[in-house]
Subunit: 464 residues, 2 copies
Amino acid sequence: MSDTTSETTTDPIESDEGYALDNRTVSAVRLAVAAGDSQRLGTLLDPLHAADIADLLEQVDSGHRREILLLCPAHFDGDVLSELDEGLREEVIGFLPPDILAEAVRDLESDDVVDLLEDLEEPQQAAILDVLDVPDRVAVEKALSYPEFSAGRLMQREVVMAPEHWTVGQAIDHVRANKKTLPDQFYHLIVVDPRLRPVGYVTLGKLLASKRSVKLTALFEDSFRTIPVSQPESEVAYAFNQYHLISAPVVDDDGRLVGAITIDDAMTVLDEEHEEDILRLAGVGESSLSDRVIETTRQRFPWLFVNLVTAILASVVIALFEDAIAQIVALAVLMPIIASMGGNAGTQSLTVAVRALATKDLTGSNVWRVVRRELAVGLINGAAFALVMGAVSLVWFGSPDLGVVIAIAMIVNLAIAALAGILIPVTLDRLGVDPALASGTFVTTVTDVVGFFVFLGLAATILL
Amino acid sequence: MSDTTSETTTDPIESDEGYALDNRTVSAVRLAVAAGDSQRLGTLLDPLHAADIADLLEQVDSGHRREILLLCPAHFDGDVLSELDEGLREEVIGFLPPDILAEAVRDLESDDVVDLLEDLEEPQQAAILDVLDVPDRVAVEKALSYPEFSAGRLMQREVVMAPEHWTVGQAIDHVRANKKTLPDQFYHLIVVDPRLRPVGYVTLGKLLASKRSVKLTALFEDSFRTIPVSQPESEVAYAFNQYHLISAPVVDDDGRLVGAITIDDAMTVLDEEHEEDILRLAGVGESSLSDRVIETTRQRFPWLFVNLVTAILASVVIALFEDAIAQIVALAVLMPIIASMGGNAGTQSLTVAVRALATKDLTGSNVWRVVRRELAVGLINGAAFALVMGAVSLVWFGSPDLGVVIAIAMIVNLAIAALAGILIPVTLDRLGVDPALASGTFVTTVTDVVGFFVFLGLAATILL
């Protein structure tokens, strides 16, 4: 069995994109669905990982999704539900027969049930809670009592712990005796004091390799860190990435052990945080390929509307100089170049700043050094492009004065763009606003308004 | 000991940003350096994790960096070097006394030495290879023979394996007997056939919990996957994230075990890939806050230059309609609005597409559905903003005809923006070009040129 698994995953010819679900499988699934052939569909779904089945459901349209689920409901276990895009879960859960759904949910660890539940509407939540056994249900309800996006929501409550006076032998016997209730994934034994406060942890590797008589306290890892249950999940992901944690105990306000977070969950959060940043920078709030036209339109409209308002603001600036433009039409031809260069230079500084804030590389202790650097870069690039555009304008329109005007405007706008690109995100961050969310609009407003004003204003002063 | 660790990390008042190095520590370090007080500096550095010491070095300027290293060279072990930004490693290694450097490097696992070496210049590489023991040196040189950014560079060669006929007891005895040579981090026992080909793996948790007589083959995990040694590291990171792997065996072309990759390395790669995407989308090739002015200027110039060329292209389109602008200056006032809205709508579609390509959610099987969706969204938002801008123009300039012109231009440009935003990255991806790298420029060129052409062309036709 393992041999074939190994071969399908390592043979690059099998799949055109390495690991992902390949097009051939998706087409074959479509054919099987069209033929209503549940046996063939089952054969196609069997070798797929839950994450790939979820991807398959995301890639087909709603009609196909329904037919796939009706033809092979047994293939949709809790893991597939967990992997599914949040926007689709409600739809898919609606299609599943209640018994299949109940079985799927019972298989999951408490953190996965929480993840599944938190985005569902009230009636679906209640239906799922009903199928859980009482202890699981209590665990899930407890987790849901923690704030959204906190460590408490992310953690699994199943942990393997040992008192600090134990030896390796006692710990191993304890693990063997509790074989049935062990979590699926655990890499450390968490050592606690009599008040259940974690005091250290031991990797299973060290536990295995040590003599039975060795004290657990002698095997503690340096990397031990606890995570407060109310800590935002983005901070949790940062800590895992920064300190190369594999798992970490979660503690309540009194420092008592309440659960554990493992790196695979932290990696998912890191991935989601990145997605959020990249989409917010582009003025897309949330987005998924499986969103429908109307959802997508509604998500993008507000950002475009904000952009329209700022664009009109820039137009008002242009309107101040209508007379100048009427006399020298070349100004209308050249002015978008200044705005475009300012916008791009500002976006460069801004993106570097947003990213550095996210990774905590940009802090109070180096912000002024970075501001000075950005300004210097803006001035140097501004001077370089001033020369280029001065020359282009001279050749194109034969006017040395116009060349001087555009050159000065270029330097000023690139310097302002650099400053706005760093100062705006830093200020928003200090105010507690996500800099990825709003900086872009502010920065391009500044570069547009300043760009048009300086260029047209100088032109009106010097050329008329 | 563990108690204090736990408290410093969990007390939110201790550090103003949760986990990161706090400003107070950085200031105290600066003071200690200014006073030349190596003892005080040592006290400040002692509690810091290697990743935080690396961050500290990145946040101060080059002069401070040198003084810190000279005052407390013993604090800079291999882990700090590994965590340090690539751009700074060469500088820091240059400051370190040879004996400290040798000791630092000897401590590291082979994958970390490789990571350290691959960005260094030839003489520094040779100096570091010289201090390694012969077996380590051979291992590192072997790893360096794999292509850059491949699984072979990422993996550690230290693995714990067992033949497939072994029992749990035999495996545990083997681990105990080889205690000294075990890798720092291992979570699975890799089970191999007589030709050293991995056939499955067993988590240490299952190994611990099972009776000594149980066959290893009875404990195999479903999640088992092997990674080809030449696979690009971005694919490796994708596989870990998609399939929730914790570690995976790496195999050569004959399927034989050559090493293992653990999730913390995959998480680092995922983080770097995201950084690359976000910076490339903003037209910043590579960037680090510790880069100097001249490096930063050089990195940003080419992207601005490309933008200048496309901006000039758009200006050429405007120049075609100089007569129309000279007669109706309102055109010059309004035209940046069309271009700005098109650019933003295009960036929205583009970012969603680039992200979906990176996560393999956008594939041949759903690309046309997504294109249709984007076009529909573009048309709907275009119609909405056409109404808004038509009304604004009518009120502002009192011309219904101008309102009609800008309304039509808005619909056409937002539809074109949507199409360009999805088709350009998909095409680049098929051609093997990173869509994050070049799509932005192409998309805004299309939206600028089309926007100006449609708006001014319609105006010239209808209004003159």
